[in-house]
Assembly symmetry: C2
Homo-oligomer: 315 residues x 2
Amino acid sequence: MPYLTAASLAEQLTVTRRLTSEPFGVNLFVPGEPARQDDVARYAASLADTARHAGIELGDPVFEDDDWTAKLTLLLHEPVPVVSFTFGCPDAETVTRLQGVGSEVWVTVGSPQEATEATTAGADVLVAQGSEAGGHRGGSDDDASIGLLSLLQLLAARTHLPLVATGGIATGAAVAAVLAAGARAAALGTAFLCCPEAGTAPVHREAPHRSAPTAVTRAFTGRAARGIRNQFLDQHTAHAPAAYPEVHHLTAPLRQAGRARGEADLVNLWAGQSYPLVRDLPAADLVRRIDAETQAALQAALSAVNRSDSPAADQ
Amino acid sequence: MPYLTAASLAEQLTVTRRLTSEPFGVNLFVPGEPARQDDVARYAASLADTARHAGIELGDPVFEDDDWTAKLTLLLHEPVPVVSFTFGCPDAETVTRLQGVGSEVWVTVGSPQEATEATTAGADVLVAQGSEAGGHRGGSDDDASIGLLSLLQLLAARTHLPLVATGGIATGAAVAAVLAAGARAAALGTAFLCCPEAGTAPVHREAPHRSAPTAVTRAFTGRAARGIRNQFLDQHTAHAPAAYPEVHHLTAPLRQAGRARGEADLVNLWAGQSYPLVRDLPAADLVRRIDAETQAALQAALSAVNRSDSPAADQ
């Protein structure tokens, strides 16, 4: 029932360790609180027409914690180099225990307040997620969100923790930009959407050829997430409650049917705001290209600044 | 009645030419269409309590075009190096006439679609305004908006026109970032809010010491604009219509009273998302600091990338 069970995670760790000796990380969803059942029932009722039209029965909107305790136990017994958190901040005890077995703790934040919370909890690294990001928002589930470049400046002024920038980074020029803004690294998600290695459904893989803008919605999962606008998103965003993972389970059969049948209008087409720039290259080639673009972008910018500062340019 | 009359603009041009021989620009508001009077009347009614409580009579919600024709005539007779446009795209004839008297035409855009429109109209330069920006949004008045770093990548992939980046740029690190992302220049607004030279009201000058987040609202002017959240914004955003400049004139006496009395909760506290980083330095000092920060940020980023690519770093 969880998004990923602790048993599946254990298998994935075994496979990953067989494939590489490089450092890697595991990302955990910090559990929230059960939603009001009234809110969920009202939303389920509003989806009835869509479900009937698709010939699909809605899922059971249960609350669960994504195997939180079992996953933490696993990670304390089989430590990984990085444990990152999203959907909130783990408590200081959890952070300390993971650090005690040698893991670095990374916490996803979207505002200066969340950065302070993560710093107080003892995080080693802050993952600064800008409003451009595709998929779920990492921090608190409210409507405000800050553009990546503004967020990086605000966090750099407030903390000495290393920052990993994420949200809308599709090119080496943007990696160069976040490094110049003070980030230690960039994390890319949507950029890998169409790599042959990605587990992206065909209907989602075609999405970058659409021209629709993205929007933030709770319609698919009950948590704010950015996806490419489609019929489901446009029809149901306005009345979707904050109720994760209840709404996730409620809409799962619809989304699964949409993926199986190639009906993009039923599927959560998660994508960041730079999604039209996605490239369908093998992952390693994409990383190499982005690395080359990053260096070229920094060198070009530095040359331009030096040129405009030279006396000759003023004449 | 306009925000700035053509006669006042003419005076400002004379003064500016006396002060400097450096290139400068004039920014024009592209006029819209009158709003539905019903919408404006309904909004006026919803402001009645706030106005009564403040002891202020609301303004007359007239439509006008900010002296559009007279200003264009002035600028064709007394050309300036740059004429920039916001609130929409001028038609191709207007662009051609201004270029004919030697002016560069810059158009503010917030999306790839608006960039295409401006390019088709013949713009020389695109001002790429990210969602982080304070004050009015430059392009169309809809609710979608794109983070600056994502917007720069999307525009760079689509046009060879020079890009000027704006929105949430408060530090040289961010100037470095937008240059690395492919912008030719950066335009800063909120960063100058507290300079002694700025015509900022005292109540607005204190705003950076507040800790409230910003939000986008039509409550003050009838056009989407970002400001620091206060009581007026929180109470009236939900029901404010798209009706510029009618709502601007409607709320003008309230905002004027707020500024005069030091009541921040009545005032449009325009500010970009990086506003907590505003520095109260003289403008020239601020520019020099930002320039030094820009160079340092690019050099540091390039060194970091070169270091991480060297074989020694992998050992």
